[in-house]
């Protein structure tokens, strides 16, 4: 029994690690631009397909392909924000949120137009899992975990030590005060949006590495991503990490008491509990 629980926790940590980068994307945009941008879903899909093109069509290895996923999704995010969401943001939170849902459906269908509906696999050798002490873990999972950890670590270092990172935190903390200090909140918003969508794209690729990708790759994960961001505290980047791991582990552990087909319920229940009892999330809404 103990070993079963340990295996479930391990599976949950691996699943949670993959959710981390898109959850950070969602929460970072919320911190700076003050609306939940659900088009994170389609940008995750765009990243997954960009990484696929680099990996399968150009034959690039995993790490450069994941950089491509980041850059393409980030650029797509900048473009879609400039064209669609930015003009609508002054109309309020609800308008921008609904527009982001519409945007994600539109972008998803553009991917569908270009790539069709079929499942696509990355060009990676499939390997048997490694076993140790009754537990098993896949080499691919460890690689995903490593990429995710490096991406998150880089982001934290960027926010903590660079001038631009500090400016982002300032805008998230108090936009008025930041603008008095001469920080251009609009420009910071654009940069945050680029990085956030890039992270979503990277997350989309990580989601696909272990399985397959199709135009719905990001959409399938959006509930878990949103739950992770809310549980950790919408607007808090360390919160998104904690939230993603919590949701990942909770989904797996739920199988001890719930039939497996109720796994999706966990995301909803997590959102419900947090919003009822601790609306600021586990870590509260501090941006760093």
């Amino acid at each position: 029994m103990l070993i079963d629980i340990a295996q479930l926790v391990l599976n949950g940590v691996m699943a949670g690690a993959i959710l981390t980068t898109p959850a950070i994307g969602l929460t970072a945009i919320y911190a700076v631009l003050r609306f939940p941008n659900f088009s994170v879903a389609s940008h995750a899909t765009i990243g997954a397909f960009a990484g696929y093109c680099a990996n399968v069509w150009l034959g690039w290895p995993l790490v450069p392909s994941s950089v491509v996923a980041f850059l393409v999704a980030g650029l797509a995010g900048s473009l879609s924000d400039t064209v669609v969401l930015r003009p609508l943001r002054p109309s309020g939170l609800i308008t921008a949120t609904i527009a982001s849902v519409a945007l994600t459906i539109a972008l998803e269908n553009m991917v569908r137009l270009g790539f069709g509906n079929s499942l696509r696999d990355y060009d990676l050798p499939i390997m048997r899992d490694w076993r140790f002490g009754g537990l098993r873990v896949g080499p691919q999972q460890l690689e995903d975990l490593a990429i995710s950890v490096v991406a998150v670590g880089t982001l934290f270092a960027f926010l903590a030590f660079t001038r631009l990172g500090k400016a982002m935190r300032a805008v998230a903390d108090n936009p008025t005060l930041a603008s008095i200090k001469g920080i251009d909140a609009d420009r910071i918003g654009q940069i945050v949006n680029f990085i956030a969508m890039g992270l979503a794209g990277l997350g989309g690729m990580l989601l696909g590495l272990d399985t397959s990708i199709d135009p719905l790759t990001g959409f399938r994960a959006i509930l878990a991503i949103f739950a992770a961001a809310v549980v950790g505290g919408l607007g808090s980047i360390p919160g998104a990490v904690v939230g993603a791991l919590t949701v990942g582990v909770a989904e797996e552990l739920s199988q001890l008491v719930l039939p497996s087909d109720y796994r999706t319920v966990v995301g909803f229940v997590a959102i419900l509990l947090v919003l009822s009892f601790r609306p600021r999330g586990i870590l509260g809404a501090r941006a760093y």
């Binding site: 079963d4 295996q7 479930l8 599976n11 691996m14 699943a15 993959i18 569908r112 509906n117 079929s118 499942l119 696509r120 696999d121 050798p125 499939i126 390997m127 048997r128 899992d129 098993r136 896949g138 989601l207 272990d210 399985t211 397959s212 199709d214 135009p215 719905l216 399938r220 994960a221 797996e252 199988q255 039939p259 497996s260 087909d261 109720y262 796994r263 999706t264």
Partner: protein
């Protein structure tokens, strides 16, 4: 300002109404198609649509139906019940079609069927869940796909014949999961094959590691994977990673040629797939192959061919294109003992000359029970070897 007098209005409407009769005869007859063009059914949906379009073109080239050209109004059900219900309302309320052909996933058909029977629209489907024909559809539904009982029984017979001893059933959350488990168990257990356990999983997960662990703990020598292509692909990978090398059995729609091309060979090695087999020896099947320009149309293309053929012949027989007319007349085409025809065009010609007909289709004899199920059909079993399907048997 224009003054509208009562007399003027009457005169104008009368003038407009008169040629309306003449116009209607030239207007195409719209028939509804609601197949999955996207989502888990997107491998079969577009091909079913093509098969129906091909028959419609053939009928149109031979003079049309009741003197009108057939025009298919196509909507995508997205393999999603909510989208499907929206699309069905559009087909029924806006396009006013008498029939909707093509729902694929059982959950979709379960959602769309009430919309159809409430509005007296006829529905033809390939969904296999037993519950579908037990819905109170009042005769407004037929399916050409064998139901769960027929499928599960034939699958179990195969598993018994090929010597498995312990079977675990992994199923997606869908209306067919429970009845299939029930009929598999009912057939396997008396023959000494133990059902070691079963599990229903959620469709939208990116990993089924924990589910696979749960299944493998029971030490099965055969896994019955009752899902759709996206999830079965993930399960197969997770089974390989977990080191499972035993038997794997699934539906042909869950492991298609396309997914075989994408998945690594090690992962699909040894998987057995089953599908309702089209009636390969039927002249209707040969005609469908020729019409579609494919050597061997599969069961779904054959079934789609049969729907539109049956619907067209029924409309011709009833001399009326309404859902109610189709509902009351369809068995005069499918269940009669009259002269057998194998294509819609032949049947239409025979009906025109006053003969009674029985349509026998590309998917099988197309004889329906009172609740809209087919009576019997054959199954084709394939095995995967080195990344390609190898024919095992038709039984």
């Amino acid at each position: 300002m224009i003054r509208i007098t009562r007399r003027g209005l009457l005169q104008t409407s009368a003038a407009l109404a008169l040629p309306a009769v003449g116009r209607a005869q030239g207007a195409p007859m719209q028939l509804g198609v609601l197949t999955p063009l996207t989502g888990a059914g997107s491998f079969d949906g577009p091909r079913m649509l093509k098969a129906m379009q091909a028959v419609a073109n053939e009928i149109n080239a031979a003079g049309g139906l009741l003197g009108r050209k057939i025009e298919l109004v196509v909507e995508d059900d997205e393999t999603n019940p909510e989208a499907a219900v929206r699309a069905a309302h559009k087909l029924i309320d806006v396009d006013k079609v008498p029939v909707i052909m093509g729902t694929w996933a059982s959950a979709v058909t379960t959602a769309v069927a009430p919309v159809c029977w409430e509005s007296k629209t006829f529905l033809t489907t390939v969904s296999g869940a037993d519950s579908i024909t037990h819905l109170p559809h009042q005769g407004y539904l037929i399916r050409t796909q064998p139901n769960n009982e027929l499928q599960a029984t034939k699958h179990a017979d195969f598993i018994i014949r090929h010597g498995a001893k312990r079977v675990f059933i992994l199923a997606i959350q869908a209306p067919f999961a429970e009845p299939t488990r029930k009929y598999l168990t009912a057939t396997l257990t008396p023959k000494g094959v133990e059902v070691a356990g079963s599990l229903v999983y959620d469709k939208d997960k990116t990993s089924y590691r924990s589910e696979v662990d749960q299944a493998l703990k029971t030490k099965p020598d055969m896994l019955y994977l009752n899902g759709y292509a996206p999830d079965v692909a993930v399960v197969l990978r997770d089974l390989y990673r977990a080191g499972y090398d035993g038997g794997k059995f699934t539906q042909s729609y869950a492991l298609t040629e396309k997914s075989l091309g994408e998945l690594p060979k090690e992962v699909t090695q040894g998987v057995i797939t089953a599908q309702p087999s089209a009636d390969l020896n039927s002249p209707a099947y040969a005609a469908a192959a020729k019409r579609l320009g494919i050597a061997t149309p599969d069961s779904y293309e054959a079934q789609a061919t049969d729907w539109i053929s049956i619907v067209a012949l029924t409309i011709a027989k009833a001399d009326e294109a309404t859902g109610t007319a189709i509902r009351y007349t369809v068995r005069k085409i499918t269940n009669s003992a009259a002269m057998v025809v194998y294509t819609a065009v032949d049947g239409l010609a025979a009906l025109k000359s006053g003969k009674d007909i029985k349509y026998s289709g590309a998917s099988g004899p197309c004889t329906f029970t009172d609740i809209g199920d087919i009576l019997d059909c054959k199954f084709r079993f394939n095995g995967v070897d080195n990344g390609a399907f190898k024919f095992i048997e038709i039984a």
